[in-house]
Symmetry: C2
Subunit: 225 residues, 2 copies
C-alpha cells in the first residue's frame, strides 16, 4: 500500500469562538514560520500517526494557545488540491466554544507561533492559506448550530439567567430578539432546570437556570424566530 | 516537511441511500481484496493527490457502483488510530441521496469489488472496518437533515405530490405522520411551487409541486412534529 498510493499530509485546524463584551471573537495565531510567516491564521498543525483527530485538535489547541478545555466539535474537512503551497494538505477543521471565564485563560505563543490574540469576527485580518474561507464556513455553521442545538449553552456559565442566553444569541446573530417571545420560546423547550434566584442582588433578583440536556443536542431552539 | 511528519493514508467512503418500496436502502459493495475480503462494505477508496475530496468521492462512486449522479454531501471524517488493519487510514465520509429513477441505474462491480447490492437499513450484514459505526452515524445525521433542511427532496422526482413527500419522510423516520398536519406544515414553509394537476389520472388528480429552494437549504421542516 505504501508505494501504490502517494499520501497527502493531514492537519487539524481549530476555530475557537468566545463572546466577550457582547462581541463574537475568534482566536488567531501569528505564524512564526513559513509559509505565510507573520500572517494570522487559525491555530492547528499536523496530526501524529498515533493520535486520533480529536486528540490532535486538543493537543494543537493546548500547544498553540494554552487552552486545555473547550466544547469541541468536528466542523468539516477541507481538501482542495491547491490550498497549501507545501503540497497536498487536507485539514480536518474543528470548532471550539469557550465560556467567558475560560476565555480569560492566559493564552500563550508556541515555538511555531509568535503571537496569539482574540479578534472580533467583524474586523478580521487577512488570513493564511484558505483560512478566511474556513472561518466563513465556521460562522455559518455556528449560526445553524445555535438555531437547532444546545451548543450555545457551552458559552454560558453552569448557572445562567434568561438574559445571559438572550445576549449570547443576540451576539451570535448580530440582532435583537423580542424579550417576551425569546423567553417564551426558550422556556417552552423544557431544556432548563430552575436553580433559584440569583444571590447578592438586592432588588428583583433574576431566576437562575442550568441546562438539563447535553451540549450539542438537537432541540430546535430558534427555527420560528 | 516530507521527513518530519509521517503521513496517514486518506480514503473517501460514500454512504448511498435510496427509498425503494417505502423502505430505506443503502448501497453496499462486497470486497474482492484483503483486508476484509468477501465482506460487505461502504463503497470508497484512496484519494489521488490531484483530485479534491469531493471528486474522489464521485470517482469512487462511479468506479465501484456505476452511479454518476447523486446529491452528495460531506458527512464526517473518521480517524480513530486503529480503524484499519493496514495502518493509519483516515476516511472522509460522504452521503449520497438517489431518487427512485436514479436508484434503478445499472449497478456494476469494479475490479476491487465482487458484488454490489442494495440492503434495507433494517437488515444489514456485518460490515468491514468501522463501517457499521459510520453507517449508524450517517443514519442519525440523515434524520437530522430531513428535519431541518430540504435534502429529502433530492430523493423525489422534479415534480411530486404531497403524498410523495409524506411517504418519503415516513420511510426515513419509520413512522406515520398525521396527513393533515404534515401537509399544513409543508405548505406553510413556502418552499413549494405549484405545478398543476397530475396528468393521466382520471379521478381527483393530485396537485403536483416542485421545490423552490436549493437542495440542502436549512428551512426547519419538521421540528414541531
Amino acid at each position: 500500500m505504501e508505494k501504490e498510493y502517494p499520501k497527502p499530509s493531514v492537519t487539524v485546524d481549530i476555530i475557537v469562538f468566545s463572546v466577550q463584551n457582547n462581541d463574537l471573537k475568534v482566536l488567531l495565531i501569528k505564524r512564526a514560520i513559513d509559509p505565510f510567516k507573520d500572517n494570522w491564521a487559525i491555530p492547528g498543525g499536523f496530526i501524529k500517526l498515533e493520535e486520533s483527530l480529536e486528540n490532535a485538535a486538543k493537543r494543537e489547541l493546548k500547544e498553540e494557545t494554552g487552552i486545555d478545555y473547550a466544547y469541541l466539535e468536528q466542523l468539516y474537512t477541507f481538501g482542495d488540491v491547491n490550498r497549501d503551497p507545501r503540497g497536498r494538505v487536507i485539514t480536518v477543521a474543528y470548532y471550539a466554544l469557550l465560556d467567558k471565564e475560560s476565555a480569560k485563560q492566559i493564552i500563550k505563543a508556541d515555538t511555531d507561533v509568535s503571537d496569539v490574540a482574540w479578534f472580533s469576527v467583524a474586523k478580521l485580518p487577512t488570513l493564511a492559506f484558505d483560512h478566511s474561507k474556513i472561518l466563513e464556513y465556521a460562522l455559518k455553521r455556528l449560526k445553524w448550530k445555535f438555531e437547532y442545538t444546545t451548543v450555545g449553552f457551552s458559552m454560558l456559565p453552569k448557572k445562567f439567567t434568561l438574559t445571559d442566553i438572550q445576549e449570547t444569541y443576540e451576539t451570535i446573530f448580530n440582532k435583537k430578539f423580542d424579550k417576551r417571545n425569546f423567553r417564551k420560546k426558550i422556556l417552552s423547550l423544557g431544556i432548563l432546570k430552575p436553580e433559584g434566584k440569583m444571590k447578592q442582588v438586592s432588588n428583583r433578583p433574576p431566576e437562575m437556570y442550568s441546562l438539563k440536556k447535553k451540549i450539542g443536542e438537537v432541540v430546535g431552539i430558534l427555527p420560528s424566530q
